[in-house]
Amino acid sequence: MKHMIYTDNEGFMWVAIVPDSLKEGQSPLAYPVAGPPDLSVLGLSQEDTKRLHNGLVEKGMYNAPALLGRRKELMQLLKSLGLKLSIFQIIGVFQQAYYGDR
């Protein structure tokens, strides 16, 4: 299995888990999405949510394990996007999606 990035109709980028045999150009839509999780809970505008969402995908930060050891990068991303969020808000959303609301 490998990861493939695609963009949906609304401009959100997603990381899908696809078979190694899937060729470039073939649609990954039938395969499970690895992330990122729904960021709407952060209360950002639609535009900021999309910028953050896509920024995370571009950095390869699409689920909780992918954030490990990358707090500095995450902080820099938030800064570059001009978003006044704590990295823990992001990590919390990612962990909630990955580990479940236990």
Partner: protein
């Protein structure tokens, strides 16, 4: 001073009769010099095998090294009209400690601050005593009379002023509640070669953010040059953790909130395995939620908790068994330390102190501060316990709590978080002022005197609200890792001292 060559005139001698201890004052010997020390490290013997390619020839297949010898050191004292202190030491035939303080621009009589380096000779005995010529037959023979002794010490090591710096700053976003050394010194026969101070595990609490975040272990394989994070996936988001310890090849986390322990192997944590954690609830009792853990061997771990509960674990994977269900004390216990598998002491709220001398039967003894919560305990010996309080006091007993002595600390700390002994001579205390601001104290004489570390001429302690825990390196009292709450009251901090 790092590259400054030490001259022989830059040394002065202190002795500590009956060895370093909180009530044994170091004695300065201004009219004394040390000779050349001899510290044999053990003969190296080759193991040979016949050379398969030549008759009457052998190859070295391996080698082994014998045990290190005792350290011997000649000391020379100018004889004075006072009673000889060194003759007294020789005739007492009791072990004592010798410290040679090396310095340049400070007052050598200042035991705590008058050195740039100290050579410590522990557990010394005088193997010979003599003098130079006591009489002079003629004026040409006139000379000062010297006492000459040779000491034989069990071990010798060096102490230098410590410097502290923050490490892993980009990774530590949550308060560090515990920090442990999971490394073993070795030459590479059984694992990677290591100085025994490279694999460090720091337990970071869940931040108070919304949505919640998992508490995690921040670990390193190389003294925090590189760092891995391991979220404790068996916790619920935002669950707080209480303490952690290395137990054999695992790191064990206890949580008062989950009333359980969580463990993962050190290798899995260091390898960045996803979700390596396992939760164990077996044996924990409601009302006895765990607060502190200490482990002295793979088979001997103690956990103390609310309601005076004491648990024992022979294997974290199998859970815990109740050793004391709050019968010695019903107070919440907050810290525990073990000297060996028989001698364990725990302290807690309302002056509670409980201990065992057989590893299983716990008894209460009256603590040093009636009505005050005790927050830290460290055992320097079977009978010598150091206790810190929630109101910033430190007490020591050398008779299992029958008598307590308060040890004063400069700067009037408002609380004590941790006391620990790197070896029999060097110890540390983590405290905080009312501000709050973290303070670290160090002793190099078994607790007789404590000074703020680092000394002002060397540097400053990275700013922090408090240091909750620290861990040492085997065979190196000049290295420490500490963790706590950064000075913004929210971030965590890991500090490396060396």
């Amino acid at each position: 001073m790092a590259d400054t060559i030490v001259k022989s005139g830059s040394s002065r001698i202190f002795t500590i009769q009956f060895r370093a201890r909180h009530d044994h004052a170091p004695m300065f010997h201004g009219f004394a010099v040390a000779g050349s020390l001899d510290y044999g490290q053990g003969d190296v013997t080759s193991i040979e095998v016949p050379d398969p390619t030549r008759y009457n020839s052998w190859l070295t297949a391996s080698e082994f090294q014998g045990a290190a010898d005792r350290v011997t050191l000649p000391l020379t004292f100018r004889l004075t009209y006072d009673l000889s202190e060194v003759l007294k030491l020789a005739k007492l035939r009791c072990a004592f400690d010798v410290q040679i303080h090396l310095g340049a621009c400070t007052d050598p009589r200042d035991f705590d601050l008058g050195y740039e380096k100290v050579q410590v000779f522990e557990n010394a005995l005088i193997s010979s005593y003599g003098t130079t010529d006591i009489g002079a037959m003629s004026g040409d023979d006139q000379a000062g009379i010297d006492e000459e002794v040779e000491i034989s010490a069990r071990t010798m090591y060096e102490i230098i002023p410590m410097r502290y710096s923050e490490v892993a700053a980009g990774f530590v976003g949550q308060e560090i509640v515990a920090i442990s050394n999971g490394d073993e010194a070795g030459c590479g026969d059984c694992a990677d070669p290591s100085d025994g101070c490279s694999k460090i595990f720091a337990l970071a609490n869940a931040p108070g953010s919304s949505p919640g975040v998992l508490a995690e272990v921040i670990a390193t394989n190389d003294g925090f040059s590189t760092v891995v994070e391991s979220p404790i996936n068996t916790l619920t988001l935002a669950d707080n953790v209480s303490d952690g310890a290395v137990v054999s090849d695992s790191y064990v986390v206890i949580s008062n909130e989950t009333n359980s322990l969580h463990y993962a192997t050190l290798d899995d944590i260091l390898d960045g395995e996803i979700d390596p954690w396992t939760e164990v609830t077996a044996g924990f009792v409601i009302g006895g939620e765990p607060n502190a853990i200490v482990s002295v061997s793979p088979l001997d771990t103690w956990i103390v908790g609310d309601g005076g509960y004491v648990y024992f674990s022979a294997s974290p994977a199998d859970g815990v068994e109740v050793m004391d269900a709050g019968s010695a004390t019903a107070e919440d216990l907050h810290d525990v330390d073990a000297y060996d598998t028989d001698n364990i002491v725990a302290v807690g709220d309302n002056n509670a102190v409980v201990y065992t001398i057989d590893g299983s039967t716990f008894s209460a003894v009256t603590g040093p501060a009636p009505g005050v919560n005790l927050t830290a305990v460290a055992m320097r010996g079977e009978k010598e316990w150091w206790v810190g309080t929630a109101n910033g006091k430190v007490y020591v007993t050398t008779d299992r709590g029958e008598h307590w002595t308060e040890k004063g600390l400069k700067g009037s700390p408002a609380s004590i978080q941790k006391i620990g002994w790197s070896n029999e001579t060097v110890g540390f205390i983590a405290a905080a002022t009312a501000a709050p601001a973290a303070r670290l104290y160090r002793t190099i004489n078994g607790g007789y005197s404590w000074t703020l570390d680092p000394r002002a001429t060397v540097g400053i302690l990275p700013a922090a609200d408090r240091i909750n825990d620290f861990t040492f390196c085997p065979n190196d009292p000049n290295k420490i890792y500490a963790g706590g709450l950064a000075d913004d009251a929210s971030d965590g901090i890991i500090i490396k001292g060396q």
